[in-house]
């Protein structure tokens, strides 16, 4: 084992990143098999080649670090593993896209991979209506994987003896423990997701076939729409997204699944284990219900003011659907991107921007501030006001209910405020960059909120023609937003320190 402490830290980090890359390489077999069944033999060759290359890189990293795998990583190093895996994973997962010829550049491929992995859902793919089943499977698999977390997936294959895994789990933006250790928690997350995958694929296939699609193609569309909905991803196999189906059933079915996907895995776990009352008491559910109701009312009033939709059904299928899609950070669309700008008006867009920033639950597939943090901050404000009304001699504690009753501490409030502040700062930077690229303020703010909250609704900025600097910035913003800043910032600090010492 090397004497130098800093060098020795590199090896276990390398080992764990290698494991995650190895899992990604193995996953490429799924679209390869899909391609074979669809008689897409060039696509099969591309996936086989890219899977082999990714596996070799993963194995190489494992070989470099395997002697040091028992070294205990600290919190910062665990988060470096998570953030670096996402970065390297993006570069490798983009290879099949690049060779498929569906993209204008490798940067566009990386953009779509990051959009998929972070469950954002904005796309730069060209001519989506003529894309192969193999590539479509990879797009939706990436978003499904990203929703649960690629580190979470790799952890499910590790044994419990690794003490380092909890650090990596937290580094991926999840910090709930469904069971005593991170490996069994990861397994529980995947069990819940696979259970819903089975149910959701059947349900969405029924809806899609009822909408008029043939059964074979309908099965693939049903599965992909479910994967995207559950992961709050927003990808769809056709260029019109959900509008392609022109069907109420598909819209309602997808809405149910993306609401479920935006709920905390700990809540799913509690409900599946008999704690059904948790649904009504949980601070995240309560907060999400209140913010969604208020913002929907604002959006509907704005849409009515502009006479955007002719009746209640249209208001439900467009106004409400898109509000829920935005608030759960899904990004499924059933209108054209520019319709937001030309038709919705400032009030409705303002409500939708707020909804996209607020996001879904913590430890779910959703992005945004998260309902838990909003709930904590609101409760803290209420507690502070309450303190002013009681004598100084009295001490009053505040509680929140999240799976169990928790006393609200200053540390929790500080952490929630810090993350929300970082989200707002990122949103501001994204908006400013959009304006520098020549887009009007409202368009720039909308698209920035969408990428910051990992949503995927677009007002028309995201396209292959947008400036390269904006593509790179949006990639970074999606990455920061999904990993909730700290992991990425730790990685950047680590790289700077290494460069300075070198």
């Amino acid at each position: 084992m090397p004497e130098n402490k800093q060098i020795s830290r590199f090896y276990p980090i390398c080992y764990y990143i290698g494991l995650i890359i190895l899992v990604l390489g193995c996953l490429m077999i799924i679209p390869a098999v899909t391609a074979v069944f669809s008689s897409e033999f060039n696509i099969f060759s591309i996936f086989l080649a890219c899977a082999s290359l990714t596996v070799m890189i993963g194995l190489g990293m494992i070989m470099i670090g395997c002697h040091y795998r028992q070294i205990k990583l600290n919190f910062g190093e665990g988060t470096i593993v998570a953030s670096a895996s996402w970065l390297l994973g993006m570069l490798l997962c983009a290879l099949p896209y690049y060779f498929s010829g569906n993209y204008g550049s490798y940067l566009d491929c990386c953009f779509d991979v990051m959009s998929g992995l972070t469950t954002t859902g904005v796309v730069l793919i060209k001519d989506l209506d003529h894309v192969s089943n193999g590539i479509n499977m990879w797009r939706h698999l990436l978003t499904f994987l990203g929703g649960q977390g690629m580190v979470v997936l790799a952890l499910t294959f590790l044994s419990r003896r690794y003490a380092n895994v909890y650090m990596m789990y937290v580094g991926e933006g999840k910090d709930e423990k469904l069971s005593p250790n991170a490996v069994t928690t990861s397994k529980s997350i995947w069990k819940i997701s696979l259970l819903y995958l089975a149910i959701g694929t059947v349900v969405m296939t029924v809806f899609v076939v009822h909408a008029g699609m043939p059964i074979g193609e309908g099965f693939l569309h049903g599965m992909w729409i479910f994967m995207s909905a559950w992961s709050t991803g927003g990808f769809a196999p056709m260029s019109q997204n959900i509008l392609y189906y022109h069907n109420l059933g598909v819209e309602v079915g997808s809405m149910i699944f993306f609401i479920l996907g935006s709920l905390n895995f700990a809540l799913h776990y509690a409900v599946l284990h008999g704690q059904r009352k948790e649904i009504w008491k949980n601070i995240e559910v309560v907060t999400f219900s209140i913010t969604l109701s208020v913002l929907t009312l604002i959006a509907v009033s704005g849409l009515m003011q502009n006479n955007v939709y002719p009746n209640v059904m249209a208001m439900f299928r467009k106004g409400f659907y898109l509000m829920v899609s935005g608030h759960t950070t899904t990004g499924f669309m059933n209108i054209y991107a520019k319709q937001f700008f030309y038709e919705w008006g400032d009030i409705a867009l303002f409500a939708l921007i707020l909804a996209m920033l607020f996001g879904g639950s913590a430890c779910s597939t959703a992005g945004g501030f998260k309902a838990l943090r909003i709930g904590i901050v609101c409760r803290a404000v209420k507690a502070e006001i309450g303190k002013m009304l009681i004598p100084d001699s009295r001490v009053k504690t505040s509680r929140i209910h999240h799976i169990k009753d928790i006393i609200l501490s200053d540390a929790m409030v500080k952490s929630a405020c810090l993350i929300i502040a970082l989200y707002l700062l990122t949103f501001a930077v994204g908006t400013l960059a959009g304006m520098y690229a020549g887009y009007p303020y409202m368009m720039a703010a909308f698209e920035s909120a969408s990428v910051t909250g990992n949503v995927g609704l677009s007002i028309g900025i995201t396209s292959p023609a947008m400036p390269a600097f904006l593509k790179i910035l949006y990639i970074v913003i999606m990455w920061l937003g999904r990993l909730e800043f700290m992991s990425v910032l730790t990685l950047i600090a680590y790289v700077f320190r290494k460069v300075r010492r070198a």
Partner: protein, 162 residues
């Protein structure tokens, strides 16, 4: 007489009653960017039929992609029957021209932006355009797969000896 002709011309010019002009040929960009102006008007739109024909009780939905966007077209089953080829991977769909009423937010279809077709014409037949097997890709795939298998063997031996 001259005065009467001038008066008649003025009445015709400023009259709210217009003789219906020929429907305008539009693109998807026109429809989206000028939806309010075109709402309720008869338009001619053409594009490639993509995906599937979605059948609905004597009617059907088709989606026509003009290269920028795909627009949903609501047509009768009879009209849908004339479309034989639908675009997808390795398939170029029929180029279809529809004449129909454009709706910015259709009251009948949950606010969808759509065209209710009065007539459909196949401008150009679609065709199968299957991929040509790229042997270079296949050779590289086999070489890399063998390399990955070899690397897996070496790593397995190394880690099992530890």
């Amino acid at each position: 007489m001259k005065k009467q002709i001038i008066l008649l011309a003025a009445v015709l010019l400023f009259s709210p009653i217009r003789v219906n002009a020929e429907p305008a040929a539009v693109t998807s960009e026109d429809l989206i960017d000028h939806a309010k102006e075109l709402d309720g008007q008869t338009v001619i739109y053409s594009g490639e039929a993509v995906g599937s024909i979605l059948h609905r009780d004597g009617y059907a939905w088709i989606n026509l992609n003009d290269g920028s966007n795909a627009i949903g077209i609501f047509i009768s089953e009879d009209m849908a029957g004339s479309i034989q080829n639908l675009g997808g991977y390795g398939r170029v769909g029929d180029q279809v021209e529809v004449t129909g009423t454009f709706h910015r937010a259709c009251a009948e279809h949950g606010g969808d932006m759509d065209i209710h077709a009065d007539s459909v014409r196949i401008v150009k037949k679609g065709f199968a355009d299957p991929e040509q097997l790229n042997t270079d890709y296949l050779i590289w795939a086999v070489i890399l797969a063998l390399g990955a298998a070899g690397a897996a063997f070496i790593v397995h031996r190394k880690t099992s000896m530890m």
